[in-house]
Symmetry: C2
Subunit: 174 residues, 2 copies
DNA sequence: CTCGGATAGTTTGGTACCGAACGATTCCAA
DNA sequence: TTGGAATCGTTCGGTACCAAACTATCCGAG
């Protein structure tokens, strides 16, 4: 509504939030370029996540995290818990609970690895495969909508710049 | 460890995940440019958030969301709950709980607005102001580390592209 | 062999987070 | 003036999410 006063709504020079930060803190010795870049990553994610859940995933009873698990298993086939957690960007303890949820929905199965009984191999069930097969194209279309206004080279550039951030943020430990 | 095989670690052409997706689904009619752009937004956030909490915020007993609230109040002074929730990117019901936490820590106060008793005005306490005054410069330095390898114009470009996504993801309703 | 350390996954305790339902207050139209 | 609609914040039920503690299994040095 009051978003981006005195800017064209299509391509605002700054978000309201960025403008107000500048007005309030512009005289401090802060790194505003990094601030805006990183802040906008969060702003984008919180909006995207909620929209994805409401517009695409709610229909299937999937949380964003649950969808991510199905997607990862779709791409990589069976995977053990530790690597799956890393790939999904969640702690392994978190994954245990989410897998329990997905198991109740009959979307994934866990089976112990015979050669090393500590490990669990997670796979999609047939239902799980059918679900992600149906959901993912919709999700991908949603991704297209969310990048409306960006050219192909914009999208590649965005992906490239984020890749650098992802690598900087990679945890060194565990 | 096995990250970005056959790439220079400093500036990978693709993340392992992106490469594997391409290998597995490259023949499907999907929008991979949007996929990589949006996926990397999530990947960046999950890493950044955890790193921020561990490396910067844990020392102060702040969650990422709690920090965001303090930061927003620092920039805008007092604010009512609804707008604060929107600015922080959380649901208003979520904010109620987080404010209760911050109130217990004596970092913020809530007071009813005299002219409209439905509304609550949230402000920083002196302790809250002192805390964010101390934490934010550290957080900003962290943001600088997380954007290491990006030039000034890269950061501005990243912020700009994300701004478009943020606007696309803005909820139309409430 | 065997026992101590490493590793994989789960459990635990606590917060964050959502949408929906709710109660209180305000606003507005008849 | 008054009663219904709109608005604001809280509550509620449920999942996601984390770090740390724990359990079970495996592995290697002696």
């Amino acid at each position: 509504m009051s978003q981006d006063r005195s800017n064209h709504a299509d391509q605002p020079l700054m978000l309201d939030a960025e403008r107000d930060v500048q007005a309030r803190l512009g005289d401090r010795p802060l790194d505003f370029e990094s601030l805006d870049a990183i802040s906008n990553i969060y702003r984008a994610t919180s909006g995207l996540r909620r929209r994805a859940e409401r517009d695409v995933l709610a229909e299937y009873g999937l949380s964003f995290g649950g969808f991510t698990i199905l997607w990862v298993l779709w791409v990589w086939d069976a995977m053990e818990t530790g690597r799956l957690a890393e790939e999904c960007g969640v702690a392994k303890g978190t994954l245990t609970g989410m897998l329990t949820t997905l198991e109740k929905l009959d979307l994934v199965t866990r089976e112990r690895v015979a050669s090393d009984k500590r490990r669990m191999l997670v796979s999609l069930t047939d239902t799980g495969t059918a679900t992600i097969d149906e959901v993912f194209p919709k999700f991908n279309a949603f991704e297209g909508q969310m990048t409306d206004g960006l050219s192909s080279s914009d999208k590649r550039e965005l992906a490239r710049l984020l890749r650098l951030v992802v690598n900087n943020a990679r945890s060194d430990d565990n």
